[in-house]
Every structure is written in C-alpha cells, then in structure tokens.
Assembly symmetry: C2
Homo-oligomer: 246 residues x 2
DNA sequence: TTATCGTATTGACATGGATCAAAGCGGCAG
DNA sequence: CTGCCGCTTTGATCCATGTCAATACGATAA
C-alpha cells in the first residue's frame, strides 16, 4: 500500500490548544491541571484539515501519530484483497483515531473524512513520553484505548447475534447518544454516511438498511428524509433491541 | 452482577517470576533489561489457578488487575439480557486478559477457563506506575492493547463480510498460527471449545460449524475427530479465504 | 459392563437477508 | 432551467444459514 496520500496534505501549522478546546472533557486532556495542559499544548503539534473524502491515513502507512477529531466526521474501514470492505467505525468530535497503528508501527485501516473535518495531530512518541510524566494523561489514554475495546465488543455482539432491525436500532440509538453527549439534539440529526457505509458497518447490504429505515418509519419510530433522521419513539427502538430473534 | 465468583478462588501466593518465564517474548515483559525484569517480578503479585469452567472475572466485577495466561485456555464472552451470548475471544498462553475493564473500572465481559489454567495477576495501578518508569514496559503494554484492537478489526471483517466456510477457515488458520508461535504443531491441535462456542465466536450456529467441518474433511483440507484437528491442506483453506461470496 | 449426559453429526425444511432490477429523488454543473 | 449522476427506495426472486428433530458418539460414573 502507498504511504502517501494521493491528495496533497493540508497541514496547518497553527498550534492547537487543548487548554482552550471545547472538547476538553471528551478527549485525553480531561482532568488535567493547568500546568499539565500547558505541556500537552506544546505536544499537540498541529491541526490538519481534510476535505470530504480525503484520507487521514491508509492501511500500510507508517504510524507516527494519533489524531483527535476537532470537527467533522470520519469513518475507518478495512479492505480485503478481493474488494470487500468492512467499516469498523464512525468517529465524531472528541474521538481518537489511529490507535490501531501502535502495535505494528503501521496503520491497519483507512481513515476517511465523511465531511470537511479537522483533527489535532498528536505525535505518539511524545505522547508516550509525556504520559510517563503526567499520570492523569496516562490514565486518560489507557481509558480511551480500553473503551475502544469495549466498543468493539459491542459491535461483535451486534454482528454476531443481532438481526437486521436490531442492528439498525442499536446504530441509531448509539448515534443519538453520541450526538447528545456533544450537546446536539438526541432526537434529530444528520447522518454523514451513505446507506452502503451503514450497511458495511452493520454487516448488511444497503438495500436491507434502506428497508429497515422504511419499516421504522412505518412503525412510527423515526422520520427519515434521506440522511436526516428524527427519532420519534426512542423507546420503541429500544424495545426492538431486547427482542431476541426467537 | 455479582462481584464474587460462586466457586472459591484459588489464590496461590507463590510469586510469579517474569524473569524466568518461558512466555517472556510473548508477554509484556519482552525486551526488558535484567533490572527492569526484577522490578516487574516484584509487581506481579501472585498466580491464580482455575479449574475448567471456573470464571476469572465476570461482567460487572470491579476492575483491579489484568491477567497474563501462563498455562491453559480461556474464552471471553458478553451476554445480552435475553440470553444471547457472543464469544469475543479465545486466549492462550502468553496472552493478556482483562483490559476491557480499564475504561470504566468495571469488567464488561466474562472470562472463563476452558481447561485447568493458571494466570499471572498484574495489579493495574502498579502496572501503570511501573510503566511510567520503564519505557519498554509502557511500550509493550500499549502494543498489546493496540494489537487487541487490530484483532477486533479482523473479527469484525469476519463477522461482517465472510460466509460460513470462510469464517471457519480463518478461525482454523488463526488457531494454527497461534499454536505455532507457542512452539506447538501448526498442523495438529486440540480445540478446547465446543462447536457452540466456535459458532458463537464466528456468528454461526453450532450445526453450521459442524457442517463446515464435515465439508472441509470431505474436501481433504482437514481431518476432524471431535476436538482434535489435523490440517492436511493449509493452502486449500487459505484459498477459501480469498473467494468472495460472488 | 451399562446407563447417562453433554457434545457432535446429519437430514429436512423454513426464512431473513442477499441479489437483481427498475424507478424515484435531489443536488450540482453547465 | 435542464440534465446528469450518485444515492435511495421498492419489488420479485433466490439461497445460505437457521431451525427443528433424530441419531450417534465418547467420556464418565455406577
């Protein structure tokens, strides 16, 4: 795989400032003292802006940094040689990208912006250095990684045991919850990904996703208008989740 | 969920000794100097022995330590309220268990011994402490967590895009590879889990797993005798993996 | 030895989601 | 405004895997 993006990288050298970042509580800077935040500020090298469809990193790229999403929306995916794609996650503001590369010094998935986005670049060697000095930073980082493991468990459960409508219900509730904790409406949001990307994430075909959306609309659980979703009956969706296949 | 195992815990207070452990290269002690190993020795509090079917920890248990498998074989699983189970992994000697608990201070899955087993108990607060002092230990730990993320990606790919026979082929090749790197035969091994547990891991029903085993045997890829597997044609299995569903 | 129980295999049938195909819809470029 | 293109919806059909059921196997205990 190529280690260079096809599209020239936009690297803005304006320093990020964790100390002033509104995503503070969501990110690895949570709970740090003023002095510690200042140190972190000097570590976070730069921001990087990406246009819709641009790649932050690709499978095979050398691993050097992890990234915190400042604004925008990403997907990560893995490709099989034969062309099959699995979307492994969607990331929004405050979430961390790139930790897959730590183990082998090489990224193992692709990270693509689904809308114009901006990330903080956190050089990993320096993060490790600093997290040896700052206990709270070390702890935050470990928690972020661990939560990613737990998120993966949930997705395995979804892919391994749930039927199509349960999967979509779980997906919508998860999105709603994440938008909420970012201060957006829990009941109304805009999906940045296509039906095909949702399908890939949920282990379904796009037609199945579309049908499930229609079904939910008929049932009065949601109102769908293209990528715009309004949740009318969250409890209805939640109930679906506890209905085993038999 | 209960925070105590139903069966009394066997806690052997014999100190583990990473410095003399044969799993050294597989584990977080890899690459440490003599002095560093000595420090690690003093951290790893005790070993714990488990009988077949005993639980190392349960979802809901307070998180205090991670565990390195010394001998034996484990599964981890997550349960849905309605009783559905997803096996999220199988762990063998040298592999680390329990990192799911770091994020919330509470374990999110169950870890069960599939045969009589022994683990090293690594109190987590002390591990964090020591990994602030020993860079190599910090790095090893981060790599182990990251590799777990990559493993999960692979499993998502499997659950999201592969058909039954591809899943089982991937599973067998993975097992074979892991036995190999532990010095066992790549071609012949004993599975410690039931067809149902394999099925749960692969997102299939036990009957489907059984049929796939039979099919592989007919094709001459493997010889199956209950839980004993002999791989006769690894390349045959590998070829299956690159055959997309269509 | 025989009974028992958990596990595994195999067959017949049912079904959820995939596949194939044809419209609809909406945004954007010209 | 118009035409195009990517995305989405919907319908008809197919098939891989689930479901149900019967039987076989192997280990263990009596």
């Amino acid at each position: 795989m190529s280690s260079k993006s096809a599209i020239p990288i936009t690297l803005v050298t304006i320093k990020a400032a964790c100390s002033q970042c509104s995503l503070h509580e969501l990110c690895i800077s949570e709970g740090l003292s003023k002095e510690e935040l200042a140190k972190l500020d000097s570590l976070v090298g730069a921001r990087r802006k990406l246009k819709r469809q641009q790649t932050l990193y690709r499978a095979g790229d050398r691993f050097e940094a992890i990234y915190a999403v400042r604004t925008g929306f990403f997907k990560t995916d893995v490709l099989l040689e034969d062309g099959r794609e699995q979307v492994t996650g969607f990331q929004m503001a405050g979430e961390i990208l790139g930790m897959d590369g730590i183990g082998t010094e090489t990224h193992t998935c692709n990270a693509v912006a689904l809308e114009d986005s901006e990330v903080c670049v956190i050089p990993f060697a320096q993060l490790e250095q600093l997290s040896r000095e700052i206990q709270a930073l070390q702890r935050n980082f470990h928690k972020v990684m661990s939560r990613e493991l737990v998120r993966d468990q949930g997705l395995m459960m979804l892919l391994g045991t749930m039927r199509a409508e349960e999967r979509l219900a779980a997906f919508l509730l998860n999105m709603s919850q994440r938008f909420t904790s970012r201060g957006y409406s829990a009941a109304e949001f805009h999906l940045r990904m296509t039906r095909e990307e949702i399908g890939s994430y949920l282990g379904l075909k796009l037609e199945t996703v579309s049908r499930a959306f229609s079904r939910f609309q008929e049932e009065g659980f949601i109102a769908v208008q293209q990528k715009h979703i309004r949740i009318l009956d969250g409890d209805g969706l939640r109930k679906l989740l506890n209905h085993p296949p038999r």
